[in-house]
Subunit: 361 residues, 2 copies
């Protein structure tokens, strides 16, 4: 690929343009807001000058509701030889394109599974997609040449291509992305009018469950508006489990021992299903859930404490796979949890102990 047109210079479009530019592709930028395109250009993402002729590939990186009309307009003016969109839902834009009489031979719908808590061109970075799944949804009408151009784009962005059916993609993201977002919001919403004394008792569990409830509602309403059916389907199933759980808890209040036993069985069954589902969530290294052992080290909150721990771990030749720092409420002392390969855990514990660290068993 030597030339590309990126339409839409937000976080995703600008990041793609930066990746392509850095790998020698000549990129032209367009945005309905010319100021935003100029910002992306100033960051080195490409040129805002209109290209002299058609580009090899046009990448449409606009909110889901604008994908179909933007693609149709680009194609009718012959902007490129092939067309790709990178929207976070795939079924509805495809149906809208069909309604517009769009021909699917030179088009491929795709979704890079990358994001940040910030948006806009200033948050963009050429390495946004490195190692992340990038879903491609070719159809029988898609020209092989277009699929290969898309695979080249994914490779240039250092992402990992995953081929899926458009509707299967939308059901998958409804399950693994849109549902967790809404459930996090639902739990957090319960705190809105909670008493201060209750909020004081929050620990790491609710902190993790509600972290993504801080997400931008404007971005999420765009995503959810484009995928309401599959999300509602998952939530309906979840609501049935929730109603069952409430019934089981009410049985646990009963004076009748048999009813209480049935309630306990119901709640236990849910907790066990949660165990089984949680085990399937891939670890940070991808497909297989990573099994690490935790070595917990007590620290004070002085600068340099962590540096010394990591330096001591480095001397022991142990690779830290993940870290969590747990500070005590209202205190400066804390606990650093170092996640390491199970074989490395005793080595690390011994090495840190020898250097005078206090290890929690």
């Amino acid at each position: 690929m030597r030339t590309a047109l990126v339409i839409g210079t937000g976080l995703i479009g600008t990041s793609i343009a930066l990746a392509l530019t850095s790998r020698g592709v000549r990129v032209h930028l367009e945005d309905h807001d010319p100021e935003q395109a100029r910002t992306a250009s100033a960051l080195g993402a490409g040129s805002v000058e209109p290209p002299a002729g058609p580009m090899e590939l046009a990448v449409v990186a606009v909110p889901p509701a604008h994908i179909a009309p933007t693609l149709a307009a680009a194609r009718s003016r012959g902007a490129a030889g092939a067309y790709l969109d990178v929207g976070s839902v795939k079924g509805r834009p495809r149906r809208e394109l069909a309604d517009l009489g769009f021909a699917f031979d030179r088009y491929l719908g795709s979704h890079p599974m990358s994001g940040r808590e910030r948006s806009g061109p200033l948050a963009a970075t050429a390495d946004l997609f490195e190692g992340r799944p990038w879903v491609l949804t070719p159809t029988p009408e898609t020209d092989t040449e277009v699929l290969n151009l898309a695979l080249e784009l994914v490779a240039l962005c250092r992402a990992v291509p995953v081929v899926m059916d458009a509707d299967a993609h939308d059901r998958a993201v409804a399950l693994v992305s849109h549902t967790p977002q809404l459930l996090s919001s639902l739990v957090a919403a319960r705190l809105e009018s909670a008493e201060e004394s209750a909020v004081r008792l929050c620990g790491q569990g609710i902190r993790d469950v509600t972290r993504i409830a801080a997400s931008d509602p404007r971005m999420w309403i765009d995503i959810l508006s484009a995928n309401p059916g599959p999300v509602a389907d998952v939530l309906t199933d979840l609501a049935a489990d929730l109603d069952e759980t409430v019934r089981a808890l009410r049985s646990l209040e009963s004076a009748d021992a048999e009813k209480r036993a049935a309630g306990a069985d119901g709640v236990t069954a849910l907790l066990r299903r949660g165990n089984a589902g949680q085990e399937r969530v891939p670890g940070k290294h991808g497909a297989a859930p990573a099994v690490y052992e935790t070595v917990a080290v007590l620290i004070t909150d002085r600068p340099g404490e962590l540096a010394r721990i990591f330096a001591d771990a480095g001397v022991a030749g142990v690779n830290i796979e993940d870290v969590r720092i747990e500070h005590a409420t209202g205190q400066q002392a804390g606990l650093v949890q170092l996640m390491v390969d199970p074989n490395a855990a005793p080595v690390l514990s011994a090495a840190l102990r020898e250097r005078g660290w206090s290890i929690r068993q």
Copy 2:
């Protein structure tokens, strides 16, 4: 306090015994499983010999269902001058004690807000409670001397005392601990029979939301069985919000523009309430939500990379408040997110850049 009897030598009881022993209190240990008491004793938590006379304080650290009978038995044999329990629910044990004709003058119900993913005496540690809230639920009948003994215990364990009404405590933990646990399980349960291609697309959001779904069902059924009413109440309110959300999503599927707008308003309102609730979750340093800035650094997965980052941060005099390591799927390269005081962020970025690190803006 010079003497204490700890009844129940699991994680919490043994941790309390270790803390008291390390501060010079003479501790005797009891457990319905003598083997477990001997294990705790071998760890230095105290003596398994029966004490010669009554102790100053008896701490009952048994599962919620056993609290009332254990307290009543200890009191009827005059085991101590004052009685404390450390169960994770407070209302039901109190009602059970009242039914047993237990006098409340020499008793205080309490709940240290500490826990670990592991249980049993081998997981115990003298610093388990350091800086954590420890809820005390005195009543008008509670002797001041007993309250002061409890405050001394909390101080010896380096925890932060919080006085609450027993039922308010149970409603609070239903909201901030028991509800997030069940919702995490409900989201994770959806993954149990999901297609592998969908599970592959899991990212950090669902990983955080489902982390505590890995918790031990046996421990949780004990906790939930003792507090079913308040948990069911919170879940009932949440279920109403969930049903509303499903209805709003179904409206978003409508062909009618007005219905779609109403649906978007409904979903946006929930997302905004989630924002407001999430903002109230205290940060790791306690009451006020900590506002840190993130400095993101690209690393490879070689041992020593983190050590060098932390060493370089230490040289710059910057204190790292929290760390998250984000590895790319199927790749060894990753991103280290360093959370620091907003004033320190530019200092850290500049210092790390100068040392050759690649900083993501």
